[in-house]
Protein backbone atom coordinates (compact mmCIF):
# COMPACT_ATOMS: atom_id res chain seq x y z
CA UNK A 1 0.00 0.00 0.00
CA UNK A 2 1.31 3.47 -0.93
CA UNK A 3 0.95 6.13 1.73
CA UNK A 4 1.16 9.82 0.85
CA UNK A 5 3.24 11.85 3.36
CA UNK A 6 2.49 15.22 1.78
CA UNK A 7 1.20 16.69 5.06
CA UNK A 8 4.56 15.88 6.74
CA UNK A 9 6.59 17.59 3.99
CA UNK A 10 4.23 20.59 3.95
CA UNK A 11 4.65 20.97 7.72
CA UNK A 12 8.48 20.77 7.36
CA UNK A 13 8.46 23.42 4.67
CA UNK A 14 5.86 25.46 6.60
CA UNK A 15 3.70 25.69 3.50
CA UNK A 16 -0.10 25.69 3.28
CA UNK A 17 -1.84 23.24 0.96
CA UNK A 18 -3.58 26.12 -0.83
CA UNK A 19 -0.19 27.72 -1.56
CA UNK A 20 1.11 24.44 -3.00
CA UNK A 21 -2.05 24.08 -5.13
CA UNK A 22 -1.42 27.56 -6.54
CA UNK A 23 2.23 26.78 -7.35
CA UNK A 24 1.70 23.40 -9.02
CA UNK A 25 -1.59 24.57 -10.64
CA UNK A 26 -3.76 21.74 -9.36
CA UNK A 27 -7.13 22.33 -7.73
CA UNK A 28 -7.18 22.41 -3.95
CA UNK A 29 -9.79 19.62 -3.97
CA UNK A 30 -7.52 17.29 -5.97
CA UNK A 31 -4.50 18.09 -3.84
CA UNK A 32 -6.54 17.49 -0.72
CA UNK A 33 -7.60 14.11 -2.12
CA UNK A 34 -3.95 13.33 -2.81
CA UNK A 35 -2.97 14.30 0.75
CA UNK A 36 -5.66 12.05 2.24
CA UNK A 37 -4.79 9.17 -0.08
CA UNK A 38 -8.11 9.18 -1.91
CA UNK A 39 -6.61 9.25 -5.41
CA UNK A 40 -5.92 6.17 -7.45
CA UNK A 41 -2.89 7.42 -9.40
CA UNK A 42 -0.53 10.36 -9.76
CA UNK A 43 1.01 11.58 -12.98
CA UNK A 44 4.80 11.98 -13.17
CA UNK A 45 4.28 15.61 -14.22
CA UNK A 46 2.29 16.27 -11.04
CA UNK A 47 4.88 14.50 -8.86
CA UNK A 48 7.64 16.50 -10.57
CA UNK A 49 5.80 19.80 -9.96
CA UNK A 50 5.20 18.96 -6.26
CA UNK A 51 8.83 17.90 -5.71
CA UNK A 52 10.06 21.09 -7.39
CA UNK A 53 7.73 23.25 -5.28
CA UNK A 54 8.68 21.51 -2.00
CA UNK A 55 12.33 20.91 -2.92
CA UNK A 56 12.12 17.24 -2.01
CA UNK A 57 12.40 13.73 -3.46
CA UNK A 58 9.45 11.54 -4.51
CA UNK A 59 10.44 9.17 -1.70
CA UNK A 60 9.82 11.97 0.81
CA UNK A 61 6.19 12.19 -0.32
CA UNK A 62 5.43 8.54 -1.10
CA UNK A 63 5.99 5.62 1.25
CA UNK A 64 5.33 1.93 0.68
CA UNK A 65 3.83 -0.17 3.46
CA UNK A 66 3.03 -3.85 3.13
CA UNK A 67 -0.59 -4.60 4.07
Amino acid sequence: MIIVRLDRVLADRKMQLSKLAEIVQISLANLSNLKTGKVRAIRFSTLEAICEALDCQPGDILEYQSV
Partner: protein, 200 residues
Protein backbone atom coordinates in the same frame (compact mmCIF):
# COMPACT_ATOMS: atom_id res chain seq x y z
CA UNK B 1 -1.47 8.92 -34.09
CA UNK B 2 -3.10 11.99 -32.51
CA UNK B 3 -6.90 11.72 -32.17
CA UNK B 4 -8.91 14.92 -32.70
CA UNK B 5 -12.43 15.75 -31.57
CA UNK B 6 -14.70 18.04 -33.59
CA UNK B 7 -16.61 19.72 -30.77
CA UNK B 8 -18.69 22.00 -33.05
CA UNK B 9 -19.96 19.08 -35.11
CA UNK B 10 -20.73 17.15 -31.95
CA UNK B 11 -22.68 20.10 -30.50
CA UNK B 12 -24.76 20.37 -33.70
CA UNK B 13 -25.58 16.65 -33.66
CA UNK B 14 -26.42 16.84 -29.96
CA UNK B 15 -28.73 19.84 -30.48
CA UNK B 16 -30.50 18.08 -33.37
CA UNK B 17 -30.91 14.86 -31.38
CA UNK B 18 -32.28 16.77 -28.38
CA UNK B 19 -34.91 18.46 -30.57
CA UNK B 20 -35.94 15.15 -32.17
CA UNK B 21 -36.25 13.36 -28.80
CA UNK B 22 -38.31 16.26 -27.44
CA UNK B 23 -40.62 16.00 -30.47
CA UNK B 24 -40.91 12.21 -30.16
CA UNK B 25 -41.65 12.61 -26.44
CA UNK B 26 -44.55 14.97 -27.19
CA UNK B 27 -45.89 12.71 -29.97
CA UNK B 28 -45.72 9.67 -27.64
CA UNK B 29 -47.61 11.51 -24.90
CA UNK B 30 -50.31 12.58 -27.39
CA UNK B 31 -50.46 9.01 -28.73
CA UNK B 32 -50.78 7.59 -25.23
CA UNK B 33 -53.56 10.06 -24.40
CA UNK B 34 -55.50 9.33 -27.60
CA UNK B 35 -55.17 5.55 -27.47
CA UNK B 36 -55.75 5.46 -23.71
CA UNK B 37 -58.92 7.51 -24.03
CA UNK B 38 -60.09 5.43 -26.99
CA UNK B 39 -59.50 2.21 -25.02
CA UNK B 40 -61.49 3.42 -22.02
CA UNK B 41 -64.36 4.80 -24.11
CA UNK B 42 -64.71 1.77 -26.39
CA UNK B 43 -64.52 -0.59 -23.41
CA UNK B 44 -67.73 0.82 -21.94
CA UNK B 45 -69.64 1.37 -25.20
CA UNK B 46 -72.20 -1.39 -25.88
CA UNK B 47 -71.22 -3.70 -28.72
CA UNK B 48 -74.41 -2.86 -30.69
CA UNK B 49 -73.41 0.79 -30.98
CA UNK B 50 -70.27 -0.21 -32.84
CA UNK B 51 -71.89 -2.79 -35.10
CA UNK B 52 -72.69 -1.77 -38.68
CA UNK B 53 -74.30 -3.40 -41.66
CA UNK B 54 -71.72 -3.72 -44.42
CA UNK B 55 -74.20 -2.75 -47.11
CA UNK B 56 -74.91 0.61 -45.39
CA UNK B 57 -71.26 1.71 -45.47
CA UNK B 58 -70.13 3.47 -48.63
CA UNK B 59 -67.21 1.81 -50.36
CA UNK B 60 -64.21 2.08 -48.06
CA UNK B 61 -60.77 0.61 -48.34
CA UNK B 62 -58.74 -0.43 -45.31
CA UNK B 63 -55.05 -1.23 -45.51
CA UNK B 64 -53.50 -3.23 -42.70
CA UNK B 65 -49.79 -2.63 -42.97
CA UNK B 66 -48.98 -5.24 -40.31
CA UNK B 67 -50.42 -8.01 -42.45
CA UNK B 68 -50.14 -6.38 -45.87
CA UNK B 69 -53.87 -6.91 -46.17
CA UNK B 70 -56.10 -4.61 -48.23
CA UNK B 71 -59.85 -4.84 -47.57
CA UNK B 72 -62.55 -3.34 -49.76
CA UNK B 73 -65.61 -2.95 -47.55
CA UNK B 74 -67.87 -3.13 -50.59
CA UNK B 75 -66.87 -6.80 -50.94
CA UNK B 76 -68.03 -7.67 -47.42
CA UNK B 77 -71.52 -8.81 -46.53
CA UNK B 78 -73.28 -9.13 -43.20
CA UNK B 79 -72.65 -7.05 -40.09
CA UNK B 80 -69.33 -5.62 -38.99
CA UNK B 81 -68.68 -5.41 -35.24
CA UNK B 82 -65.92 -2.92 -34.54
CA UNK B 83 -65.71 -3.02 -30.72
CA UNK B 84 -63.11 -5.78 -30.36
CA UNK B 85 -61.10 -4.35 -33.28
CA UNK B 86 -60.98 -0.90 -31.66
CA UNK B 87 -60.09 -2.40 -28.26
CA UNK B 88 -57.21 -4.34 -29.83
CA UNK B 89 -56.05 -1.30 -31.80
CA UNK B 90 -56.13 1.03 -28.80
CA UNK B 91 -54.44 -1.55 -26.51
CA UNK B 92 -51.64 -1.92 -29.06
CA UNK B 93 -51.37 1.87 -29.31
CA UNK B 94 -51.17 2.25 -25.52
CA UNK B 95 -48.48 -0.45 -25.24
CA UNK B 96 -46.41 1.05 -28.06
CA UNK B 97 -46.74 4.57 -26.60
CA UNK B 98 -45.71 3.43 -23.11
CA UNK B 99 -42.64 1.63 -24.48
CA UNK B 100 -41.68 4.65 -26.65
CA UNK B 101 -42.14 7.08 -23.75
CA UNK B 102 -39.99 4.95 -21.43
CA UNK B 103 -37.18 4.67 -23.98
CA UNK B 104 -37.28 8.37 -24.90
CA UNK B 105 -37.32 9.44 -21.23
CA UNK B 106 -34.15 7.39 -20.60
CA UNK B 107 -32.51 8.74 -23.76
CA UNK B 108 -33.27 12.33 -22.68
CA UNK B 109 -31.65 11.66 -19.31
CA UNK B 110 -28.56 10.35 -21.13
CA UNK B 111 -28.43 13.37 -23.42
CA UNK B 112 -28.41 15.69 -20.38
CA UNK B 113 -25.28 13.90 -19.11
CA UNK B 114 -23.67 14.06 -22.56
CA UNK B 115 -24.38 17.82 -22.68
CA UNK B 116 -22.71 18.14 -19.26
CA UNK B 117 -19.68 16.34 -20.80
CA UNK B 118 -20.15 13.30 -18.56
CA UNK B 119 -21.33 10.60 -20.97
CA UNK B 120 -19.52 7.71 -19.35
CA UNK B 121 -21.28 6.99 -16.10
CA UNK B 122 -22.77 3.91 -14.47
CA UNK B 123 -26.17 5.59 -14.69
CA UNK B 124 -26.01 5.86 -18.49
CA UNK B 125 -24.84 2.26 -18.74
CA UNK B 126 -27.86 1.22 -16.63
CA UNK B 127 -30.17 3.26 -18.91
CA UNK B 128 -28.84 1.39 -21.94
CA UNK B 129 -29.23 -2.00 -20.25
CA UNK B 130 -32.85 -1.12 -19.44
CA UNK B 131 -33.54 0.03 -23.02
CA UNK B 132 -31.99 -3.15 -24.44
CA UNK B 133 -34.11 -5.40 -22.18
CA UNK B 134 -37.20 -3.38 -23.13
CA UNK B 135 -36.49 -3.77 -26.86
CA UNK B 136 -35.88 -7.52 -26.52
CA UNK B 137 -39.16 -7.91 -24.59
CA UNK B 138 -40.89 -5.68 -27.17
CA UNK B 139 -39.81 -8.09 -29.90
CA UNK B 140 -41.78 -10.86 -28.19
CA UNK B 141 -44.75 -8.89 -26.81
CA UNK B 142 -45.64 -6.53 -29.68
CA UNK B 143 -46.38 -9.40 -32.11
CA UNK B 144 -48.96 -10.64 -29.57
CA UNK B 145 -50.87 -7.37 -29.97
CA UNK B 146 -50.42 -7.51 -33.76
CA UNK B 147 -51.76 -11.06 -33.90
CA UNK B 148 -54.70 -10.06 -31.71
CA UNK B 149 -55.43 -7.11 -34.02
CA UNK B 150 -55.21 -9.28 -37.13
CA UNK B 151 -57.51 -11.83 -35.51
CA UNK B 152 -60.13 -9.16 -34.76
CA UNK B 153 -59.96 -7.85 -38.36
CA UNK B 154 -60.45 -11.36 -39.77
CA UNK B 155 -63.37 -12.17 -37.46
CA UNK B 156 -65.09 -8.76 -37.40
CA UNK B 157 -64.95 -8.29 -41.14
CA UNK B 158 -66.02 -11.90 -41.75
CA UNK B 159 -62.99 -12.65 -43.88
CA UNK B 160 -62.72 -16.27 -44.88
CA UNK B 161 -59.64 -18.22 -45.83
CA UNK B 162 -57.36 -16.05 -43.66
CA UNK B 163 -55.68 -16.70 -40.32
CA UNK B 164 -53.61 -14.67 -37.88
CA UNK B 165 -50.20 -15.98 -36.91
CA UNK B 166 -47.66 -14.90 -34.29
CA UNK B 167 -44.29 -13.81 -35.70
CA UNK B 168 -41.47 -12.67 -33.44
CA UNK B 169 -40.03 -9.24 -34.25
CA UNK B 170 -36.41 -10.35 -34.74
CA UNK B 171 -35.22 -6.84 -35.68
CA UNK B 172 -36.26 -5.44 -32.30
CA UNK B 173 -34.50 -8.32 -30.52
CA UNK B 174 -31.33 -7.87 -32.60
CA UNK B 175 -31.25 -4.10 -31.95
CA UNK B 176 -31.85 -4.85 -28.25
CA UNK B 177 -28.74 -7.05 -28.13
CA UNK B 178 -26.70 -4.43 -30.01
CA UNK B 179 -27.68 -1.83 -27.41
CA UNK B 180 -26.75 -4.31 -24.64
CA UNK B 181 -23.26 -4.49 -26.14
CA UNK B 182 -23.19 -0.68 -26.22
CA UNK B 183 -24.24 -0.66 -22.55
CA UNK B 184 -21.19 -2.73 -21.61
CA UNK B 185 -18.96 -0.45 -23.69
CA UNK B 186 -20.35 2.49 -21.69
CA UNK B 187 -19.76 0.55 -18.47
CA UNK B 188 -16.09 0.12 -19.43
CA UNK B 189 -16.01 3.80 -20.39
CA UNK B 190 -17.36 4.67 -16.92
CA UNK B 191 -14.56 2.61 -15.35
CA UNK B 192 -11.93 4.43 -17.47
CA UNK B 193 -13.53 7.80 -16.66
CA UNK B 194 -13.33 6.98 -12.95
CA UNK B 195 -9.63 6.09 -13.35
CA UNK B 196 -8.99 9.45 -15.08
CA UNK B 197 -11.02 11.37 -12.48
CA UNK B 198 -9.07 9.76 -9.67
CA UNK B 199 -5.70 10.53 -11.24
CA UNK B 200 -4.03 13.73 -10.04
Amino acid sequence: MHTTFNENKFKKILRFTTVITKLLFIISIIGLAIFGLMFLIVLFIPKDVLTFDASQIASLRIEMTTTGLIINLSDITGSIALKSFLIALSAMGVFQSVVSLTIIKRLRSMLIDVKAKQPFSKQNSDHLVFISILLIAFGFVMPIFQTWLDWTVIHNFNLTGLSASYTINWLSIFVGFLILVLAYIFQYGAYLQDEVDQTV
